[in-house]
Symmetry: C3
Subunit: 137 residues, 3 copies
């Protein structure tokens, strides 16, 4: 059993954005040389999160963000008096910072349409960081 | 430290359904022979998810699905023009594809009323797959 | 590769409350002696959950709870006829019971403002339990 760690760094361009990081995570799995195990991903930043989602239709990230905006409206939170990003924190808390994906035969065992997205709810940011920890044989 | 992997396959019968997979996961923990560690579960499919929830009252899965239907209404998403299942994708993204459960003394360390549910938000499907990765001693 | 397990036990004082457990989890990482790996946390109880969230402004937990109360209103669920806590179960299912946090150089690799919160949606309870499983080198 071995362990491999790396950081994925991405920039974001909008206030709210889902960025597909599947290729970066897949590259790290390949570099790790691990054939069977888990790839644990963690989004740093209390206004960021990770979501497993379809990437074939680029409208889905837009739908996700529109739904979250309906559920968590802007501008009505106590924290808005401090940072004006209360909704960003709540969205990040609901979606969650960590996902653990199995590795099978040296590859992330995502299904055909599943991709990994960094969710930035308080962008744009020149650097969002996702920590990668791969454990296995 | 050893690693054990398996697939749980279940069929679903309704458009939206929570299926209790605790017994299948417990069986895999037993087969793994691992006494102390983690059982990492991952639902394949971008309209499926995993939820830890009570199973004693069969109304709770119904309540969960009714709440998600209120939060994520059908028929108003951009993706509906392609596949008519935009809500299914959003629900799966909010609930999340992965859960990691500790193994203590050879058993899943769920509390008395906690069970593991596969959430199908775009059923019925003859085969939904949950990948099981067990790591420990 | 070694494995270390422990329980964090906390009491809660309100019906709905977020309790910062970061210091307890950090202490376990220190005791484990593990420098590189993962800290997998699991909240027992089907009305509890875990959330990575900011702790600098104490209004954020209040905002989170107010938002969840809007999304999941009290008193309208089938399960309320049994236990009168249907909303508690739904909130726990949406937020999720498990989070996996990387360990880098012997410390939890949380970013500056990220803390770990136990969410009690059906308190007060004299004892809520979070299981800690640390795996690494």
């Amino acid at each position: 059993m071995t362990i491999y760690t790396e950081m994925i760094k991405v920039s974001t361009n909008k206030t709210c954005e889902l960025v597909d990081i599947t290729e970066f995570a897949s590259d790290e799995v390949h570099r790790s040389g691990i054939s069977t195990g888990i790839c644990s991903l963690f989004a740093q930043g209390a206004t960021a999160a990770l979501m497993i989602q379809e990437n074939d239709d680029p409208n889905i990230p837009t739908d996700v963000l529109n739904c979250l905006k309906n559920i968590v409206p802007d501008g009505i939170w106590l924290h808005d008096r401090i940072d004006n990003n209360g909704a960003s924190h709540i969205k990040a808390g609901i979606i969650g910072a960590s996902e653990t994906i199995p590795i099978v035969k040296g590859k992330l065992a995502l299904s055909t349409w599943q991709n990994i997205f960094l969710c930035d709810f308080d962008g744009p940011r020149h650097c969002r960081t996702v920590l990668v920890t791969i454990i296995g044989d």
